[in-house]
Symmetry: C2
Subunit: 219 residues, 2 copies
DNA sequence: GCTTTGACATAGCAATCCCTATCTGAATAA
DNA sequence: TTATTCAGATAGGGATTGCTATGTCAAAGC
């Protein structure tokens, strides 16, 4: 029967390779279970079982439930979101096309990758409740955030940029809008149609290009 | 000593009044504890103790821990957000002033009412994980959402509204942006300065007024 | 006045939690 | 081959959980 490997001729793994593999499998399982049950709601037994290992195996790879969660936080914030950012500068950042691409990305994140938003919410809640990890979280977010800022910067320069608009401010607004719309679509998909994010971005950038009026003018 | 009441001559409460009072105290305590520990992380003992009652008192007022949480969800979504919406139409909804007012509101929600954002995140996670309450949640959000739409509608009409912009779409964008910025400010306050939300709103509305270009034009 | 009702306190049960001490068997080194 | 190491399995301890059965005492009805 040879039931052990569907992949063609998986070779015998070395000791270190095997350990790395189980670590990775445990992290993936933890991401799913944490997303579905939350940090305190998830049990280490469920995570270990979902990965196909025992509880002891989990504790032989991670010092505690919290350490497992924190490593997950660091990993996902570095590569997972960075991948979204790189999918962003694949496209030439002209407003028209980039907007459509970003709309597509939002729908895919919201509808296909159903674990993403709950997991991120769980991370945010953990950081708010444990301020000592706030710095770590901010540091992990810096790289993808920088990528987003660069995309926005080139997009602002391509259009005739009005001076005095901070790239970081626009990046913050775009990121906040993205996350907010993803969450809203999970509650009521009809209220966040496919093109909405793209439209909002076009409103935003044409408004910026037009030069926003000074904030306080009349009472 | 008369140590029992600081308020001037608090009269003896009737049976129903006393029960209503403990219910209210339990709900307030539950809001604080759920915000700090999460749904599964909070224990009924801690909630009861924070309210100054016993576990039995809690179960004599609420059928279960979940029922207590769901009542909290319904209550907060009806009156708490509605109060924010009414603070919104206190002001004449001219872009300039309304923007500043909304900026102030955001900062106050993010910095002063520190329990609000975590509690809302907890509600969102619960709804995503328990789809049977999605309808209830959506129903509770309908009223404040309608108020927001009306403010936006009058604001759009006051400026010469370009036809074809959906009021609901703008309301969704504004709400998502608000929530996203509140969350971001909790992680890194410096990245969300006081005026940011107001500026974003002005960008958005001037962009809408200018008439956003049709989404897909060039490849 | 007495009786009834019910809001709340107390104590405890059964289940589950995170984590650890101990053991097994296979991969490495000699 | 024999000895050593270490990833992972097994079993269980100690603590905590949500919830309930029972008791108590003041308010409401007669």
């Amino acid at each position: 029967m040879n039931a052990e490997s569907a992949a063609p001729a998986r070779r015998r793994l070395s000791r270190a390779e095997a350990k790395a593999r189980t670590r990775s499998l445990l992290l993936d399982a933890a991401a799913r279970v944490f997303a579905r049950k939350g940090f305190t709601g998830a049990s280490v037994e469920e995570i270990a079982e979902a990965a196909g290992f025992s509880i002891g195996a989990l504790y032989s790879n991670f010092g505690s439930k919290e350490a497992l969660f924190l490593e997950l936080l660091a990993d996902r914030h570095t590569d997972r979101i960075a991948e979204a950012a790189q999918a962003l500068d694949r496209h030439p950042a002209g407003t028209g096309e980039a907007a459509a691409e970003l709309s597509r990305l939002l729908i895919e994140v919201a509808d296909k990758d159903t674990d993403f938003a709950p997991l991120q919410a769980e991370f945010w809640l953990y950081a708010v409740r444990n301020p000592e990890v706030l710095d770590t979280m901010a540091a992990n977010l810096r790289a993808p955030r920088h990528a987003l800022e660069q995309v926005i910067s080139t997009s602002l320069n391509r259009q005739d940029a009005p001076t005095g608009v901070s790239t970081e401010a626009v990046a913050t607004v775009v990121a906040a809008l993205f996350g907010g719309l993803v969450r809203q679509r999970r509650i009521d998909p009809a209220s966040v149609p496919e093109e909405l994010f793209g439209h909002a971005l076009q409103w935003l950038f044409t408004g910026i290009r037009a030069g926003a009026p000074a904030p306080s003018d009349t009472v």
